[in-house]
């Protein structure tokens, strides 16, 4: 899949090319098809093994939906960037750093929470811009450049939080936030009335105190849907989206027809930083604290979700819808294993096996759909 078909077609004699042509038929299929099939498989599996454990009760669904949503937010950014032909390994560190950019000014500098949030977004966009600029200017692989950012940002998060706060967990953000609109914007619960109605109607459970077992859709879930939807529209229905495909598919070719490849890539790095900051803001507002170790390893989860969703590691191919389903598979598997009560020591082994199964199945479906064995 990673071979460059241009090379194969141009450089090989005629008979070789015919073979190539059938291999490329799979490209006709939509990239997200396999991920959707994988999602069905995962739900069938847990429908059978986690039946009756509360996984599919309202608060169980809320649990894995929340995990899916937070992954969707960063997977969307990662998918767009991967289609654009680059990686960002600094997403996890960015989450930790952005959280601190909100918490420290609010708690220690006395800034209004709104200003802190805007500051964090501006700071993140600047860091994303710098990531992109270094990649574009130096022409180094983004893997290496953002690996450096991973360490720099994580280190700065620890160093600056010790410097300003003398601790690595900054708590009490909510006490300073008061009744600012940013708290419900990032951590509120939507449609509470609907859930009270559902509970009264007996469709979802009630707590002993009479509240519904789920009080509303968390803001993070809404952010995730909004970001994924906008990402999908931009990628598939706009000029910029076409430029993303072009920049990732063949940057040189894109440049030759006037696509501003450098600008596209820099913007995409800013988008991943933006997504990481949305993630961080939701987390800070929900938990009321920022910690220097937030978001560790999340960059890999984001890339895994994008790959399960059909993004090629080599760029130029993929979809945001696929990344969403990739995040859903990851979220459901991650939480679903806990619901089945599997022994904890083996958790990561199961997680790896389930993901491998989902990806293999994903590939298998994609091949079948395109008539290739």
């Amino acid at each position: 899949m990673a071979e460059d078909p241009t090379v194969a077609t141009v450089a090989q004699p005629l008979d070789e090319r015919l073979q190539r042509q059938s291999g490329l038929r799979r490209l006709l299929s939509r990239p997200e098809l396999g991920a959707i099939a994988g999602t069905v498989l995962v739900f069938l599996f847990f429908g059978a093994t986690a039946h009756g454990t509360g996984m599919f009760a309202a608060d169980g669904i809320l649990n894995w939906m929340t995990v899916t949503a937070q992954l969707t937010i960063i997977a969307t950014g990662a998918a767009l960037l991967m289609v654009g032909g680059e990686f960002d390994l600094s997403v996890g560190s960015m989450i930790g750093f952005a959280g601190m950019m909100i918490a420290i000014p609010t708690v220690y500098f006395g800034w209004p929470i709104e200003i802190s949030v805007i500051f964090a977004f501006c700071g993140a966009l600047l860091i994303g811009f710098l990531n992109g600029l270094v990649v574009v200017r130096t022409r180094l692989p983004s893997f290496i450049v953002t690996l450096a950012s991973l360490y720099i940002l994580r280190g700065m998060t620890i160093a600056l939080s010790i410097l300003f706060a003398n601790r690595t967990i900054v708590s009490g953000v909510k006490n300073f936030a008061g009744d600012s609109f940013v708290v419900p914007l990032f951590s509120g619960k939507a449609f509470p009335g609907l859930f009270i109605w559902l509970a009264d109607a007996g469709i979802i459970g009630k707590l002993p105190n009479g509240q519904p077992s789920v009080q509303g859709v968390p803001a993070m879930v809404i952010w995730a849907f909004a970001i994924a939807l906008i990402g999908h529209i931009v990628l598939s229905r706009t000029r910029f989206g076409n430029w993303i495909f072009a920049a990732g598919g063949d940057a040189n070719a894109a440049r030759n027809v006037g696509v501003p490849v450098a600008r596209v890539k820099i913007v995409l790095f800013m988008v991943t930083a933006f997504c990481a900051t949305v993630y961080a803001t939701c987390q800070v507002m929900e938990f009321g604290s920022a910690a220097a170790d937030r978001g560790v390893l999340k960059e890999f989860e984001a890339i895994i979700a994008a790959v399960i969703g059909g993004c090629l590691l080599t760029g130029g191919y993929g979809s945001v819808v696929g990344a969403f389903f990739g995040a859903l598979i990851f979220g459901v598997v991650q939480m679903g294993i806990l619901f089945t009560g599997a022994p904890n020591d083996w958790f990561q082994v199961f997680l790896g096996l389930m993901l491998l199964t989902a990806v293999l199945f994903n590939n298998y479906i994609r091949r079948r759909a395109t008539g290739e064995r």
Binding site: D4, T9, R17, R237, T238, N242, G249, V257
Partner: protein, 265 residues
């Protein structure tokens, strides 16, 4: 036929073009011109300066000295964009296509058609697919689905898409960089047929190749490059395929070899 072509004004003309890269002399006095409805074949072996000449004509390099006329007026290109604006489109060997993207998306890559919905502008994919399908049909390639990936097309078809794209976006002069070099017989004839069709529509074509047979099949005139200078320009009526072959090789060796091998070179 060649007389009637000669009477028209030259779309592009260069005289005594020189290009130095530091101490390296890449072009050392190249003169040539191409007129509307004419295929000028630029022949030369590897290292003859073909690539440098193309890049100079398409605005990538600036000539060190010499004159460059478009429609009889001197001009200086600073960027490839300037050349495009002047109606000079270059189809490079890599074709500037993304194999994983659809034909329609490739056709409009960098020049996407937009449709306004409220305050937003969206890609007009329906229009792009319609145009791509129609333009390909004109060449005789019937696409059932122009949303299929370019990678699924044959090499010749891809070459034709690249040419059709340049023509659609208003090229007056087409520079084709070795369009047939990696193609088989059937694919080559498809491309050559299309080149002829484009010429008949009144475009000027600069056809770069080192294959004399391909050149002779479509060319009206031939300019031979050797070691950065032109060895001369010949009308088709005034030169045979063998003479052209010898001229390009720079001496008679190849001709002997060709005879030894039974004329297969």
């Amino acid at each position: 036929m060649s007389e009637s072509v000669s009477a028209k004004p030259a779309l592009i003309e260069v005289r005594d073009l020189v290009k130095h890269f530091g101490p390296v002399v890449a072009l050392n006095g190249v003169s040539m011109k191409v007129r509307s409805g004419e295929v000028l074949c630029l022949l030369g072996d590897n290292g003859a300066g073909k690539s440098t000449l193309i890049k100079t004509l398409s605005g990538v390099h600036k000539p060190t000295s010499g004159s460059f006329l478009v429609d009889g007026k001197p001009i200086a290109f600073h960027t490839p964009r300037d050349a495009l604006d002047a109606g000079i489109a270059t189809v490079y060997q890599d074709l500037a296509m993304v194999p994983l993207s659809s034909i329609a998306r490739n056709f409009f890559m960098g020049r996407e058609p937009l449709r306004r919905v409220g305050p937003f502008k969206f890609l007009d994919l329906a229009f792009a697919e319609k145009v791509a399908r129609e333009e390909m049909k004109k060449i005789g390639i019937d696409l059932r689905d122009s949303s299929q990936a370019v990678g699924t097309l044959s090499g010749g078809e891809r070459q034709c898409v690249a040419i059709a794209r340049a023509v659609y976006f208003g090229a007056k002069v087409l520079i084709l960089d070795e369009p047939t070099s990696a193609l088989g017989v059937a694919q080559t004839s498809m491309v050559l047929k299309y080149v002829n069709q484009v010429r008949a529509r009144g475009l000027g074509v600069i056809f770069i190749t080192h294959n004399v047979r391909h050149a002779y099949a479509v060319g009206n005139s031939f300019t031979v490059l050797n070691r950065g200078r032109t060895l001369g320009t010949f009308e088709k009526a005034g030169i045979s395929i063998e003479e052209l072959q010898n001229l390009m090789a720079g001496d008679k060796e190849l001709q002997f070899l060709s005879n030894d091998l039974g004329g297969t070179v």
